[in-house]
Symmetry: C2
Subunit: 286 residues, 2 copies
């Protein structure tokens, strides 16, 4: 397995800025992002405070940012890092189906997501899952519910359609859902509660109830404490110093995952600082 | 005297970002910058790591940044804030010839400058001055030396040409010096030492010696400890937390004056954070 100098987790403004600046210092940079382009950025109608470029659309900015990273030679992979851990000489990170290795890690995974639906936290691992490709087989021949905040969820839902008796799909994004397998039933409304004691029994939405044994939830980012258990948090965000260093040597963070304000310019600046700190750290390894 | 919500000291990327974001929150913003456009930025040949806009020239970026601030309704004044202090309901700041008032202050004064020439620190106030319009009259009819890192120094040198017997002008910037009064003698080289015990007697340069009674030094920014004596520094930079708050309530800082890395994206991000922190602070006053 190839070992990169920098593994950047997340392809929003912070991650792309970190990756570009790592490349500017001639480091080998792998950026693993769950989304091809940050949905949050792409869907911004108009961004008026990225200094020097008022009135740009989120989609334009997203394209410029990604184009900049590609031009600098950043390697971009669409995958979700589910966890990472120290390994001799650096870190290993687990994607959905693949391992990655790097000497340093920059976490730029966006706004931390928490179990926010009543009943969700209690039922994680008891019918509630955040990874269809990981846990789908447990629900073979059963009825499942799929709550997706991302278009990228459609692929996973299609995977479930092949193995489950019925998939109810509740999209929480703008789209035409045409990529979905026709066996999937698209439903609307808002999820109000997940029911069940020992195991999940029912998903209650504002538009009806669904008796299911599994519920998959696809959000823009995983809860941070599942990414790396030793990582110190503060008020739910990754704790960093002014050099964007976390409590773990060789691990840096930038952008929304480090706290407010949730703004592009902050993310871009922090990505740069994190990258330069990672470069400094790499020099101490040599 | 009109009281602004935000007084931003410095017109580089950090200051302009702070000003734009203060305006986006509908605050009344005054930006006082010593230079019309940051010379440091303007002279950058090519900036490759302002995310999304690779290969832009410093001059283009400087023009876009300033244009953005003007479009947002930032009031821009060319002056140098020499010091500021708390006043009931906010702060007052002293420019070269004018007072300003604001409820909050954001310091974005760039790289802190120190007395760096041998003999300089000892002779401040004993012939060495950082303000020609303030101290020029003390040197009426005398010979003076003027070391200028900024084109803006030419105006002050011309002022001295009217009152002093002779002005030697050593420019440390690219320019044609055509704005200089013909009575001024332009000299070249590097200043090596300022001589004198009780008072300045001589300026020694790599290209000769000048017997003078006064030496004016024009740098991009003043030493930070003369700006506001109570401001806490750390390793020569303004000490800030992650919200860009200084040790003084209502006073924030952003950009190069807060430390490394000295990069545009860091400055722009910090300017934004400082502005939003100032906005939060203003809400507590209401």
């Amino acid at each position: 397995m190839e070992q990169y100098d920098l593994l950047v987790i997340g392809g929003g403004p912070a991650g792309l800025s970190a990756a570009v600046n790592g490349r500017r210092r001639n480091k080998r940079v792998l950026l693993v992002g769950k989304e091809k382009v940050s949905n949050k950025l792409r869907q911004a109608h108009r961004v008026d405070n990225y200094l020097g470029f008022p009135g740009v659309s989120g989609a334009e900015l997203a394209a410029s940012y990604r184009g900049h990273a590609v031009a600098e030679g950043v390697e971009l992979i669409e995958d979700e890092i589910r966890s990472f851990w120290p390994e001799e000489g650096g870190f290993q990170a687990m994607g959905k189906e693949q391992l990655y290795a790097a000497k340093t890690v920059i976490i730029a995974s966006g706004m931390p997501q928490k179990a926010s639906i009543p009943g969700e936290e209690k039922l994680v691992g008891k019918g509630v899952s955040y990874c269809a490709t990981c846990d789908g087989m447990f629900f073979r021949g059963k009825r499942v519910f799929f709550l997706s905040e991302l278009e990228e969820g459609e692929k996973d839902a299609n995977f479930l359609a092949d193995i489950c008796a019925q998939v109810y799909y509740l999209p929480r994004y703008q789209g035409d859902y045409r990529g979905l397998d026709p066996r999937i039933k698209v439903v609307s409304g808002r999820v109000l509660r997940l029911h069940g004691e020992e195991r999940l029994t029912k998903v209650e939405t504002s538009a009806g109830e669904y008796e299911v044994e599994g519920a998959f939830i696809e959000r823009a980012s995983l809860p941070l404490d599942s990414l790396m258990p030793d990582l110190a948090l503060e008020n739910g965000f990754i704790k960093v110093d002014r050099q964007m260093r976390t409590n773990l040597p060789g691990v840096f963070a930038a952008g929304d995952c480090t706290g407010r304000p949730w703004q592009i310019a902050k993310a871009v600046g922090e990505g740069l600082v994190a990258a330069l700190s990672a470069v400094d750290y790499l020099a101490t390894l040599a």
